[in-house]
Structure formats: C-alpha cells, structure tokens
C-alpha cells in the first residue's frame, strides 16, 4: 500500500501520543511530528478532531484518525509489510484488545486518583488499588507472553504499546511519591518487562526521561487553575 504523507499531531509527553510514535517506529514509517503546545489547541487539531479536540491525531494523506488505540490498529492494518503489532490469531487479538481497554479503563483512572489524592491515607488507599490492578496485569503478562519477553511474544505488540506507553509517567509517580508501584515482590515479571520495553529500539527515543516528565508535571500543576486544555 502506498505510504503517502503521514503527520502526527501530538505532544511528546503524552503516553497516548507515544503509543502512536512507537507503532510508527515498529513499521519504520517516517512521519512529520506536529507538536501541540501545552495549554492550547491548534486550528489543525480542532479541525482534525472536532469531536474530542484531543491528541493524538494521525493525518494520513489528509485523512484524520483519532484515538490512540484506533490509530495503532490503523497503522497495523495499513503498513502490512512491517512487523505485525496485533497478534494474527483472532482469539489472541481479542485478549490483547481486552487488556488494552483494561489499562485505559481501570488502571489509568487509578493513577489519576493517586495524583489527586490528598493526605497520606487517601494516597495509601490509591496505591493499594493500583498495585492490585498491577498484580492482575502481571497475571495477564504471564498468560499472554507464554514465557517470552513481551505481552506480544518475542517482539513488542499491541498490549506492550498500550501499557508500556505509561511507564514514563509511572516512574514519575514512583519517584515523586518515593515508593514503588511495580515491585519485584508483587510484579516481578512486569518489572523485567518494563526494562526490556523501555530499551526496545522502537521505544527508547520515544518515552521522555523521568526528569523531563517531572519538569512538565510541575508546569501542568502550575497551570491547573487555568481552563482545561485536553
């Protein structure tokens, strides 16, 4: 299929944008990265995603595709000559999609809850819930990976991307809270997987360094009283 013109509207610090960047890297696909400024939305974004007005938006031959996991699947469907992102078996695909939705619907809201938690008790309660969910994902990893390095098997796949994109921010939460969410005691496989994921060629230049994310977090906190951007 003709590759055509590929643009990605996003921000480097967004794990949702990172998902798309990783997917494009897996396919060795060149693209133009159009950085959205923190706290404002460009004309192009508002035009390309009028429904949600959110990044990421992939613009392929002037056609916009929205929602990070929809975009990743689109990339897998279009660039068929590169390594596959989703498993080939329909059942395995259903499993990968199920857990990716779990990451978005169960895990991520708990991370937000922790960020908003005030007081030690509330924080501890949020952390406990997050660790419970991570233990569920640990079990999912054992089942999906079948003894291999990634959720997707020998190489990173859909679920690795869906969950792994959050590792940058997870590390920020751990560092700023001076605690561990992923631990050798409760989630030993995920600890090792996280390291492998972050070192992967398709990932290593995408996930921002912890220090950079902490800087961005502090800017976002300062802007928290301003009208919401995303």
């Amino acid at each position: 299929m003709a590759t055509g013109d590929v643009k990605l509207l996003g921000a480097g610090a967004s794990p949702y944008v990172n998902r798309v960047q990783i997917a494009l890297n897996i396919k060795s696909e060149n693209y133009e990265f159009l950085e959205e400024k923190l706290g404002s939305k460009s004309e192009l974004l508002l035009k390309s995603n009028p429904i949600h007005k959110k990044i990421p938006v992939l613009i392929h031959d002037d056609k916009p595709i929205c929602e990070s996991l929809v975009i990743v699947q689109y990339i897998d469907d279009v660039w068929t000559s590169g390594p596959s992102i989703l498993p080939s078996d329909p059942y395995d695909r259903a499993i990968a999609r199920f857990w990716a939705a779990y990451v978005d619907d169960k895990w991520f809201p708990l991370m937000k809850e922790l960020r908003m938690a005030e007081g030690e008790e509330a924080k501890a309660a949020a952390i406990e819930k997050i660790v419970e969910v991570l233990v569920v994902l640990e079990e999912a990893f054992v089942k999906c990976s079948k003894g291999k390095a990634f959720f997707g098997g020998d190489s990173i796949g859909f679920l690795d991307i869906a969950f792994g994109s959050f590792l940058g921010w997870l590390k920020v939460t751990e560092k700023m809270g001076e605690m561990r969410l992923l631990s050798e005691a409760k989630t030993p496989n995920l600890v090792e997987w996280a390291e492998r994921f972050c070192c992967d060629d398709a990932v290593k230049d995408v996930l921002p360094k912890t220090e950079k994310l902490i800087e961005i977090f502090k800017i976002m906190q300062a802007r928290a009283k301003a009208p919401p951007s995303n």
């Binding site: 429904i51 392929h60 056609k63 595709i65 929205c66 929602e67 929809v70 975009i71 699947q73 689109y74 469907d77 279009v78 329909p90 059942y91 695909r93 259903a94 999609r97 199920f98 939705a101 779990y102 569920v136």
Partner: protein, 222 residues
C-alpha cells in the same frame, strides 16, 4: 455438534448482549444461550469473567471472549459470512472511533441520565443530547451506519432504536424528536425492520417493567 462450539452467557435485557446475538444470527452461527441472573451472579460468570464479572461472555471451543464490541470483532474475524466491519483500514478506524464514542458518551451514561431527577437530570440530558447530535451528523445521508447494509456500527448503536424509547418512557423524557433527529429516526425504522433485528428484540413491556423496577432502586453499576 456445532451449537456446542459457541455459547453465549448474557442477560435478556442487556443491549451489550443483544448486539452479540444479532451478529451471531446475521452470520448464521449456531450457539447455545445461557441466561445469567446479574443480581445473583453464577459461579460460571465469576469464573469466566473474574475481572469485570459482566455479561455478555462468548465461549468458543472453550475460549472466553469478553466485551461486546470485542466479541463483534472476534466474530467478524472468525466467520466471514455477513461481514460487519469495513475492509478499508480508514473506514474501519472511523467505525471503531464512533463505536467507542457511542459507548462512552451515550450508552453508558444514557440510563443514569434518564433515571436522574431535577437539575442533575437537566444538566446530564443537555450534554447527552449534544453528543447524540454528533451521531445524527455522522448518519446524515446514509441508509445505515454501514452504508447500504447494516454493519458493526449499526449493531453498536442498535440500542438507540429499541432501548432508548423504553428509557424515555420510564424516565418521562422525550429525546428522540423526529424533527431534531430526522436521520436517526429514519435509521431506527429501517434498522428495526431488518428481519434478524426484528426477530431478536426483547419484549417491550417486559423491558418497561424491568426499568421501572430499576428506577426505584438506588443506582449501582452492573
């Protein structure tokens, strides 16, 4: 035997379950239907879906597939009869986008909005209607979401045709004004007259009784 290969665990009134049944019937797949009492969850359900403890659950050759929209994708990949999703990657992305939108912005908040009261209800319905207008826009000029024949997105949005009117009745609110939503109104008529859909709808009076009971109970997510 063919019918033992595929089993569906569901609740008679669940719109999530209905869309799976429609897909199975459109594709001519034989299956065994197992009714679940969600107020008294069976060991089977808790074993098959320990994460969410929800229906529908599809079991195919002993393998468990969860989440109705994911089940539709699975069925479409396993059974080529009556394709549900478009072949074109861009068209596929568009229907997935709208299915997610419908799920998050309309189906899930729909009943909670219609069963609420006073200011809370007014506020919830205002936002909800704004989102329904986006679906109206997406449907404009089309016979079905899927084009000439029903497809994945029609099944995903199907609840609007038969369940939303029940919620309107029980919640005492009119939302689907034909003047405001001419495309959805026209689509509803065509969708409900499809032979497979028509033959596979829960009885309306039974649905009304169900939701009237629910409105009297404190709301809890199922």
């Amino acid at each position: 035997m063919a019918s033992q290969e595929v089993k569906l665990l569901s609740l008679w009134v669940s719109p999530f379950g209905h869309r799976v049944e429609w897909a199975l019937k459109l594709k001519g797949v034989e299956y065994e239907y197992i009714e679940e009492d969600i107020f008294n969850k069976s060991h089977l359900l808790l074993e098959l879906n320990p994460v969410h403890k929800k229906v529908p659950v599809l079991i195919h050759h002993g393998k468990v597939i969860l989440e109705s929209l994911l089940i539709l994708e699975y069925l479409d990949e396993k059974w080529k009869e009556f394709p549900l999703l478009p072949q074109d990657p861009y068209e596929k992305a568009i229907v997935r986008f709208w299915a997610n939108f419908g799920e998050a912005k309309l189906l899930r908040p729909g009943w909670p909005a219609l069963r609420s009261q006073g200011d809370e209800k007014e506020k919830a319905l205002k936002l909800w209607i704004e989102d329904l207008e986006k679906i109206e826009g997406e449907l404009k000029g089309k016979k079905f979401f899927g084009g000439e024949t029903i497809g994945y997105l029609d099944l995903a949005m199907g609840w609007i045709s038969y369940m939303l009117p029940v919620w309107e009745e029980v919640g005492c609110s009119t939302i689907l004004d034909p003047k405001k939503f001419p495309s959805i109104t026209a689509w509803t008529e065509k969708f409900l007259s499809h032979p497979v859909i028509k033959e596979n709808l829960p009885p309306r009076d039974k649905m009304v009784v169900w939701f009237e009971k629910r409105i009297k109970e404190p709301f809890s997510a199922q």
